[in-house]
Structure formats: structure tokens, C-alpha cells
Assembly symmetry: C2
Homo-oligomer: 436 residues x 2
């Protein structure tokens, strides 16, 4: 490699972050203590909640946000020599708080609060937004799919329909939101996401006869494998599959046609052949609505591709990263907000609480300015759960969670929401955001 280090994340940013810092150095404001917040102005149309994902990846990116010599060379012509010197020693030394990975969010939830000098905090804007906007869009769609699937497992298999690196992040985000496994091998290697897969239509077509393909697959992968049965004639393939593998065949996969109808026929055929424990896996252009529509069909697992990796109609969350407070002339902190009439923000550093009623059901997203009130300020019978956890302190990552912890957080957070979240129809956010 003669170019910038592939593990540095410093160039995954916008040109204007650097020119702003250069200009702030000019005006003597680059070192002003500043608070930036990353938040959604709204949920995607009709969605009742969102799910935060990408927290762990963002912490990795923050640690790798360093400008090495090759990176600096590539920036000649973007900023001046003084600025390049400053970038060479850049290291985020501030503090970050944020929603835990897997947590549900609502309009104006302050998902990240980043505090540092203006210069060091503004540089992180683009890469933090990229990670949060992508990963949370996938997790938000995935969460609806796993809710719709109930006890039936969902498998992520969308790598081919999105950017090759976005695919790895999508597999990870889907896992956070309750998917059981992914087809993606890089997600397995990097993050420990369980991977799965058996064969495509090309494997059957490669052989002179379908039976040859099934036999080869069973011989090498065992009778517990999943045989793809819709390359030619489904009923004939199911008959062959049981003939080749026996009644202990793990599963058959359907990838075309009216999945509910075909699943019923295949289930009946499998049962009649004695393969009563052979599972039926379906995988053709599924989304949360198709999964919900198959609830009454004899389907044992869902493979989801395109609609998962594209956020089921909402491939980005629209999170923004806004300066909400900064040091004034006298060293005091000043709340700030732009006044653009269609994009107003609320100035001042936020806290966030999830208010639950006496039964533990979430009733409001409470967002306030300043310090969080003591717990006894809650209405009688209710309790508040603080949503911001420390992620970075003095530049050191302190809030790293495992993927299993993020999965547990997702399950707990969704379980706490009103039952309206299980409705796949479009509607209002499941709980209101209350500014105090």
C-alpha cells in the first residue's frame, strides 16, 4: 500500500470539516469547548420506533481516527501546512455519552452527546453520522422483521444487494436486532455473527441431474443440510430430497412462487413422506409485511436479503450532528441553534429518560436540557430509566459492549414498549417525545 492506511478512518469525512477547523484556528475559536449532539428530527414515515446500532463500530472508528503520513500527504491542497501539522497530532481527548447499542429511539432522542473542543469534536461529524445512519437504518428494519417473525428465526442474506462493506455492517446490525445468523463470512470473522448457507440454484444446474446435486450436498454437508427445491419442479424435488437424505433431512428451501401456498403443499408432502421434522425455509424478497403475512403458513425460518440491507424502504435514518452549546467569550457555556425556518434545532445539552408506568411499560421519551432531574420528580407510580451511558472519557473508550449485550438490550428495550410496536401498519411513534 502506498496510500493512506486502510485501517485509518480519518479520511472517511467531509472536506468542510477540515476547512472549518482551519478557519476556526484563524479566528481563535477552534479550542472553544463544544457540545455536539447526534439525533433524529423524526422517525421514517409511519415507523413506530427506531433501533440504535453502530455504537461499537463508531467507537472503533473513533479510536482509528488518526492522520498518518500518507493520509496527510493526500490532504495537501485541502488545508494549509499549519493545519496539516495540527492534524498529524490529532487525537480525540473529549467525552462521549450515548444510547446503548440495541436501544429503541424516538424523534429527538439524543443518541450521542460529544463534548470536546470544537476542532476535535467537529472532525468526527461525518464518520459518526455515516455509521449511525446506516447501521441504525438496518437495525430498525431488522427489528420489525424479527418482531413479525415471532419465535421463528430470521437469517440475513442481503450482502449481494448492498455495498460489500455495508453488507458486513448490515449483518452485524441485523444480529443486534434479533436475527439469528447471516450469510456473510466477513461478519462471522470480524464480529462473531453466526454464519450459515448451503447451496444456490447454480449448484443444481451444474449437475446433470437434480438427484446428483442433492446427493453431493448431503454427502459433504450431512443430512441436516438445507436442500433448495425450486430449481425445476418443487414436488419432484421434495420427493427426491427425502429419497436422497432420508426423513432426517434438515430443511428444504423455497425461493420463488407464492411462498405461503407452496409451503403448505411442501409441508404436507414432507409429512406424508415421514419427514415430519424437516423444516421449511423461505427466502424470496421478504420484508416485515411478507413475514407477517406468512405467520399462519407452515414456515420454520425466514431468509431476508434486499429489504433488510436497504432498510425496508428507509435506507438511512436522517440523523444529524448539531452544535448545541459552546464556550462563550467569558468561558461560560452558551446554548446555540440555527434559525433556518424548516430545520430548527433545540439548543443546549440534553439528557434523556424513558418514563415507564407502574407496570413497566414505556410511556414517554423524556428529553430535557441540562442535568437530569432526581428520580422522585417522576409522576406517581412511574419510573425513569436513564438512556445516556458513558462511551468515551478523556478520549478513552469506556463504554464498549459485546454484541450479545446489544442483543439483550434490544430485546429488553422492545419488550418495554407499548404493544402497538408489533403492528406493522404505519402509525405514530409508539411513545411521544416530551421536552421538559
Amino acid at each position: 500500500m502506498t496510500g493512506p492506511s486502510p485501517s485509518s478512518t480519518a479520511l472517511l469525512t467531509d472536506h468542510y470539516e477540515l476547512t472549518m477547523v482551519q478557519a476556526a484556528r484563524q479566528s481563535g475559536t477552534a479550542g472553544r469547548r463544544s457540545v455536539f449532539e447526534l439525533f433524529p428530527r423524526r422517525l421514517p414515515q409511519g415507523r413506530r420506533y427506531g433501533v440504535v446500532a453502530g455504537v461499537g463500530r463508531a467507537l472503533d472508528a473513533l479510536e482509528d481516527f488518526r492522520f498518518d503520513a500518507a493520509t496527510l500527504t493526500s490532504l495537501e491542497g485541502v488545508v494549509d501546512a499549519g493545519m496539516l501539522d495540527w492534524l498529524g497530532s490529532y487525537r480525540f481527548s473529549g467525552d462521549v455519552w450515548g444510547y446503548a447499542e440495541g436501544e429503541a429511539y424516538f424523534p429527538h432522542s439524543p443518541l450521542l452527546v460529544v463534548e470536546g473542543t470544537f476542532a476535535e469534536a467537529v472532525l468526527l461529524e461525518t464518520v459518526l453520522l455515516s455509521i449511525y445512519n446506516h447501521d441504525s437504518a438496518i437495525a430498525s428494519a431488522a427489528s420489525r422483521m424479527t418482531l413479525a417473525a415471532g419465535e421463528r428465526p430470521c437469517i440475513e442474506m442481503g450482502a449481494r444487494r448492498t455495498h460489500e462493506e455495508a453488507a458486513v455492517a448490515a449483518a452485524r446490525a441485523a444480529y443486534v436486532a434479533g436475527f439469528e445468523a447471516s450469510s456473510n463470512l466477513a461478519a462471522r470473522a470480524r464480529y462473531g455473527v453466526p454464519s450459515t448457507g448451503t447451496a444456490a440454484h447454480s449448484f443444481t444446474l451444474l449437475h446433470d441431474a437434480e438427484a446428483d446435486a442433492f446427493r453431493a450436498q448431503v454427502q459433504t454437508l450431512g443430512v441436516g443440510t438445507t436442500l433448495l427445491v425450486d430449481t425445476y419442479d418443487v414436488a419432484e424435488a421434495v420427493r427426491l430430497a427425502v429419497e436422497v437424505a432420508g426423513t432426517g433431512l434438515g430443511a428444504v428451501r423455497l425461493d420463488s412462487g407464492d411462498l405461503g401456498e407452496v409451503a403448505r403443499e411442501v409441508r404436507a408432502q414432507l409429512d406424508s413422506l415421514g419427514a415430519t421434522s424437516t423444516r421449511v425455509v423461505v427466502t424470496s424478497d421478504l420484508d416485515e409485511h411478507a413475514i407477517a403475512a406468512l405467520a399462519a403458513a407452515p414456515v420454520d425460518a425466514y431468509g431476508v436479503g434486499t429489504q433488510l440491507v436497504t432498510g425496508s424502504g428507509h435506507p438511512t435514518c436522517g440523523f444529524v450532528y448539531k452544535l448545541v452549546a459552546r464556550e462563550g467569550d467569558g468561558g461560560e457555556m452558551v446554548s446555540v441553534a440555527k434559525k433556518s425556518h424548516d430545520k430548527t434545532s433545540v439548543g443546549g445539552r440534553k439528557y434523556a429518560l424513558r418514563r415507564r408506568d407502574a407496570r413497566g411499560t414505556a410511556r414517554a421519551e423524556v428529553v430535557g436540557i441540562g442535568a437530569a432531574p432526581a428520580d422522585d420528580a417522576t409522576p406517581e407510580g412511574s419510573s425513569d430509566r436513564a438512556l445516556l451511558v458513558p462511551l468515551v472519557r478523556d478520549g478513552e473508550v469506556v463504554g464498549r459492549a459485546t454484541l450479545e449485550e446489544a442483543r439483550a438490550r434490544h430485546r429488553a428495550s422492545i419488550a418495554e414498549l407499548p404493544r402497538a410496536v408489533t403492528m406493522m401498519s404505519a402509525g405514530e411513534p409508539a411513545i411521544p417525545t416530551v421536552f421538559v
Copy 2:
């Protein structure tokens, strides 16, 4: 790094590619000579053409598709020891033909034809699809935007709304399709895409007064810079901007409100202040329709973010990678296609020609099976342009084009299409695909 090499692309694939090869080795079919094709079954709803992008990135990925020791270790448990040995010496040794980067495409255009053994060609399925599906989705949207913008430049600034690596590929794909520049610094470093940017609202808010921010920016970036004028009051900011920078001010940027209306007011104000050559840049949630609607407004450049990086409603192309021919028992090539009734493919290796009438206007996408006919087979007065160019021969990349060549191919390819492509309304493909 203790994990797999970050530059290897071998794990950017699906689990089942590897298990298929293992099973094909079992049945003795892994070495069968095979032809795979990558193609769209249709265009996104209402689109009149698509644009191929990602070709150069796919060639890079093919060269980096090697299984090093750490990669192989991560695959223990996925495939058996014999398969791991085979993967360790994997190297694509076949041939690839494809549409040149920047070329327009239509339903069933054979964008890639990959020929090799089944084992070596099937392994590339996922990573080729990921790259083509993503980059072509971006280029297809970008092309409509640059068409709508006419002579006015478009600037890509969507990094924050998509996965951080997808952002780099999106900047590259947008540049192929006629964008002038990008905000993305990694796209500049890796691919030489021109980068641009000045300041965000946070920069204005950082300062005690808007004038302080403008002064600092002009002092460090020069009077040719672009000042963002909608943080507080647009008219006051425009007045201040010219006061600070003089009538030589490069540009002002508007990021909110009714852009056409505000642009008219700002243009009149700039002219009245003598800043007649100061340009007006607009940047708020633009897509090709918004750009077209601003054609009559005094706007000099468009900054496009979210809608560019999400493919303007179509974040993926739905390309598939299908086995269309493979060696039979006797060494002859056999055309193959699955019979799934809602996903039929056409078997046999394809050629593709763009048929132009006597005036040089494209009239049909001609897709045939076997060898392309001699040129004198075209209807009188028309001519055919061959669309498949050699990309890889005996495993060596032979078809690498520069980004400037891809931009030129895009311009020429679009210029050749019927004028209907400039219509932003939904409609049929600009030319029919004719199977011969």
C-alpha cells in the same frame, strides 16, 4: 491486526459459495467449465435507463480475492480441511467480459460474462454483485441528476447518510455519472475525485457573531470561498457576506427554505450589491426532480446528499449472477436455466449490441445467444456497437479504464440515447431489449 487482512476481499462473500464448491468437489463437478452472467431482470420502476458503475472496483476486488492464513483460520467450521487447502491456493484464472464503466444498460443487458471453472467463478458471485448493485444504483441516480442539471455542476455530499465505505464508492460512482466533485476526502485520496467544501452551520454558531465567522473563513480560504448564509437571517447574512468578502465573493450557499424563491431573492440582492459574479449554491434534500424544478431559478450549482447515496428511491439494482452454461458429461457446453416460474432466466452465453439508426440514435439493446453476428446483419442504415469488452483474460486484468474514460463513456452513451431519457417522469425503458 490479528484478523484477516483488510485488503483481502475473500470474505466479502456468502457462506454458501464455499459450501457449494466443497460439495461440487465431492461430486467431481467443481472443475466443469462454466459461464456465469451478471444482469438486471428489469429496470427500477419507471426508470428509462441505468448506468453501469463499479467495474474498476470489481476488478480491484477480483485481484484481491485471495485467502491468506488468517482468512483461512476464520473459515474453520465453515468448510472442511480439504476445502481450506484448495482455498489457500485460489486464484481466478478465467476470463471476464463486461460493459465498460459508464455505459447505459437496459433490462437483460449482460453486464458481466464470467467464464472459468464452476469453483472459481461461483466464488466471485457475492462480491461482484455487491459492487455492481451498489455502484450502479448510485450512478443511475446520479446520471438523472446531472441530466436534470444540464450545464450546472452537481456536487456529491451524501457521505453522512450512508455507510462510511459505501460513501466512498458513491462519490466515485457519482463522478462517473457526471458529478463535478464530492465532499468525500477518501474518494479524493483513493480515486482522485475532486473534493470540495467550506463550512457548516456549526461554524457560524461557534462564533459570537456571524460576521466573525465569515471574516475567519474569508481570511483563511480566500474571497473565492462559499459562505453559508441561512444560519440566522438570509438577507442580513448576504449583506454581511459581501461586506466582509467584497463583490469578488465566490458563492453563497442556501441549505433550507423554498430554494427557488430564496435563490431569486438572494440573486437580486447580490446583484444590487454589485456581487454579480457571486454564485448561488443550493443543497437541501435535492433529487433529480427538485433539480429539474429549479431549472428556471438563478442557481449556479447543486449539492446533493441523501438522495444520491440512496439511489433516489432505488438503493440497489437487483442484478443477479446466474449460471447460464456449463460443461456437460462429454465436455460439450450445455445451456442451463432454472425453471422457477416467477424468476425465469435465459440460458446460454450472451452477446450484446447497441443498435443505432442512421442518425446515430440508439434504437435497441440487442441481446443474443452465442457469437455476435457480422455487422452486415444489421437493418439497412443502422449500425451495431458491441457492448462487451474484455476485462480479464486468463486471470489477468486487461480492461482497466481510468475514471476520466468512464466519464467520457457515460457522456457518449447518454448522448446516443433517444431524447426521452431527459424526461424525469416515470416511463418505459428508453430503448427495448430485443432477444435474437
